[in-house]
């Protein structure tokens, strides 16, 4: 079961039909626009049906169902574990390869990687920043990846450097992972890459925050992108995927997923193929604990609570968290006491209390004026609110509506 909408932008168009046999790594859905990505089969077998089914969003979306038969890979994929450090392709070839392999940002936002790496005319990429900061608390997928595939990530960095023409490469890692910092620093020496330990702070892994922390530049308000301040940011997971795509010809169909929770028997990082139902991952860590009240696809601050355990892993599934019953119930909402904690928590310098009130009364013009579009939806305001007001819920709604209004005006 593989959904066709796994990334930001236009969903892909299925190119297989019912009854077709597919192999691991075979293209099954083609990207339909500039900001879109190819999707490849993660298993071998026959296509059972293409039908709408419930996914992470809670809504029904088109998925390709494949009956698994054996594990036959496409011959073009290099399955040897050898490290290939030599980069033979040109920048264009690299970008084309990345696009072909359907690489997206694996941090959660799932922005297609080839789009990010296409530096627009007239702009220059000075810094390539590799995000080794775990996007959210609880997740350790990137941490494991850095420890186990250090060299591959380094080569990946060089590949991206070639594609973007970046002058410098900086890898930012939070300093609560000394082992990763040590190992990465050691390996980075050979490649002329800087590893920068960063303060542990949420949301350090946000693109804007990371650029601020590493090169001390602030991205202006949207629609400005990192490239406007001469930076390109990639996640270590994506970097690894890029390495595999370019050097091993392997499309993105599997990823490391952190499966954890307070009452989970044996929390693990699992290399899971796209399309695996969450229930399989949960079974692998000892089954769903009795007292589970909520299962979240992604991290605790930005992940999505799922309605059913049968939803599939996607390219953006960074973690599966199981919350206990007691943890999964939000506290009762009280009156705002105007303590200003949300204001000081907001990493974008916004006033969440104000945005929330404006969203509540549906004053979308004022919301735009108060720069709701700057919000990165990190969830810090809701987290910190002593009155238990779901501020992020309101702001997200306001932001979505403002975006919709702006689009309809165009």
């Amino acid at each position: 079961m593989i959904p066709i909408a796994q990334h930001i932008g236009a969903p892909a168009e299925p190119v297989v039909a019912k009854g077709d046999t597919v192999k691991v790594g075979q293209l099954i859905a083609k990207s339909t626009g500039f900001v879109s990505a190819n999707i490849h089969s993660s298993v071998s077998g026959t296509v059972a049906k293409i039908e709408k089914t419930i996914d992470t969003s809670g809504y029904k979306n088109t998925c390709i169902f494949i009956n698994v038969e054996g594990d036959e890979w496409l011959e073009t994929i290099d399955r040897t574990p050898d490290l290939k450090t030599e980069i033979t392709m040109s920048a264009e070839e690299i970008r084309a390869k990345i696009a072909e392999c359907g690489i997206v940002g694996t941090g959660g936002a799932t922005f297609p990687a080839h789009v990010k790496l296409s530096v627009p005319q007239g702009k220059k990429c000075e810094h390539l920043i590799i995000n080794g900061v775990e996007c959210e608390p609880y997740l350790t997928a990137d941490h494991r990846l850095m420890l186990e595939h250090t060299e591959e990530i380094m080569v990946g960095c060089k590949i991206i450097q070639k594609a973007t023409g970046a002058e410098k490469i900086i890898i930012g890692i939070e300093n609560n992972k000394p082992d990763a910092i040590a190992k990465m620093t050691e390996a980075a020496k050979k490649y002329g890459i800087t590893v920068m330990p960063l303060k542990v702070k949420y949301p350090q892994g946000g693109e804007k925050q990371l650029i601020k922390a590493t090169v001390n530049r602030e991205i202006p308000a949207p629609p400005a992108l990192p490239i406007d301040v001469g930076c390109v940011v990639q996640n270590v997971g994506s970097t690894f995927a890029i390495y595999e795509a370019v050097q091993k010809n392997k499309p993105l169909f599997e990823r490391v997923v952190t499966v954890t929770g307070k009452s989970v028997k044996s929390p693990k990082n699992i290399l899971a193929r796209v399309g695996t139902p969450l229930s399989h991952l949960i079974a692998a860590v000892g089954g769903l604990p009795e007292d589970t009240g909520k299962v979240v696809n992604g991290g605790p601050m930005m992940g999505k609570a799922v309605k059913s355990l049968e939803v599939p892993v996607t390219k953006g599934t960074s973690g599966v968290l199981m919350f206990k019953q007691s943890e999964s119930v939000r506290m009762e909402e009280n009156a705002c006491i105007r303590c200003g904690k949300c204001v000081s928590a907001c990493c974008m310098g916004l006033e969440p209390y104000l945005l929330k009130n404006l969203a509540k009364i549906r004053d979308f013009d004022a919301l735009k004026e108060e720069r709701v579009l700057d919000c990165i939806e990190c969830g810090s305001c809701s987290f910190t609110c002593p009155a238990g007001i779901p501020i992020t819920d309101y702001i997200r709604y306001g932001k979505a509506t403002v975006t919709k209004i702006l689009r309809s005006k165009k």
Partner: protein
């Protein structure tokens, strides 16, 4: 005594001076307005619901007076009664329109539509809709957090806590569509009130295939098409697994209501049916109504 005089006189003088200033200011800044605007506004309900498409009752009045005609200017809340008064003020002839009313196209009450998850976010439909598909297995139906109540300018909607569905007080409803605008799922439709305030509509917008819809909700329209077959006026179409009754064709014979296997078709304000099994030709079938002279604005929310 002297004190009294000394306080009264300056204060009076001050008052007079200020009054003179005010008088001139009022003269200078007086805005000439057509007195008919006020007269027209007096005919309107004054709920400022925006159902006419103008910013409030005043906006409609100004538009009417300024253009001097009634084309495209109709107050759905005041209906024909208000518009004929407006027409009298303006010396025009009012266009007769069918009075409209909002209907809730969802019958998925708590007992018919079991909860499959617990929604724990902000208690508004808009946010619940954006978060996930709601706490039942139906991703189309009413969420029940009452955004429509907030959108109503007439106090006509309330959420029934037992069913979890909004209930519309048809007597109060002005048919402005404020609630329909607020509903993130398009559950509420504004339809003509119908003859004698009686109307028939499909109370479901679930586009899933029959079996899935049925699993999510016992009152779902399963798109079986029985109603369309039984309808003598070809008023019913089934598209995307949902039936829809075209109110321009429906003659309120209620054959479909009897035929629907899930009870998804609602009939409003009809006298209760006799308990005896329905005769082949129900008595309640009204004589075919004379063709409506006016074009009914199509307010169908097709999604």
């Amino acid at each position: 005594m002297e004190i009294v005089i000394w306080t009264v006189i300056p204060l009076c003088a001050l008052g007079i001076v200020l009054a003179i200033i005010l008088f001139f200011v009022a003269k200078k800044f007086k805005v000439e307005e057509d007195p008919r605007i006020d007269e027209v506004e007096a005919c309107l309900p004054g709920a400022n619901c925006g159902g006419c498409g103008f910013p409030g009752c005043r906006g409609l009045s100004e538009a009417v007076v300024k253009s001097g005609n009634l084309d495209g200017k109709y107050c759905p809340a005041g209906g024909n009664a208000a518009m004929s008064k407006v027409a009298a003020v303006m010396g025009l002839v009012a266009e007769e329109k069918e009075p409209m009313v909002a209907v809730v196209r969802c019958c998925g009450s708590h007992d018919k539509r079991p909860q499959t998850s617990t929604y724990d976010g902000a208690k508004t439909c808009a946010i619940a809709h954006a978060t996930s598909s709601g706490d039942t297995a139906c991703q189309y139906g009413c969420l029940g957090y009452g955004d429509c109540v907030a959108g109503c300018h007439f106090g006509a909607i309330s959420i029934n806590q037992e069913t979890g569905l909004p209930e519309i007080d048809y007597d109060k409803c002005g048919g402005c569509g404020g609630c329909a605008k607020m509903c993130p799922r398009g559950v509420i439709e504004v339809r003509p009130r119908g003859k004698n305030d009686r109307r028939v509509y499909v109370g479901c917008i679930n586009k899933d295939k029959g079996a899935e819809a049925m699993k999510a909700c016992k009152a779902a329209c399963i798109g079986c098409g029985k109603c369309a077959k039984v309808c003598p006026f070809e008023a019913i179409t089934v598209e995307n697994n949902v039936a829809y009754i075209d109110f321009t064709k429906c003659k309120s014979c209620r054959k479909c209501v009897a035929e629907c296997p899930t009870g998804a078709i609602n009939a409003v304000n009809f006298p209760p049916k006799p308990a005896t099994p329905p005769a082949p030709k129900p008595e309640a079938q009204p004589a075919p109504a004379p063709a409506e002279a006016t074009v009914v604005e199509n307010n169908v929310n097709n999604n």
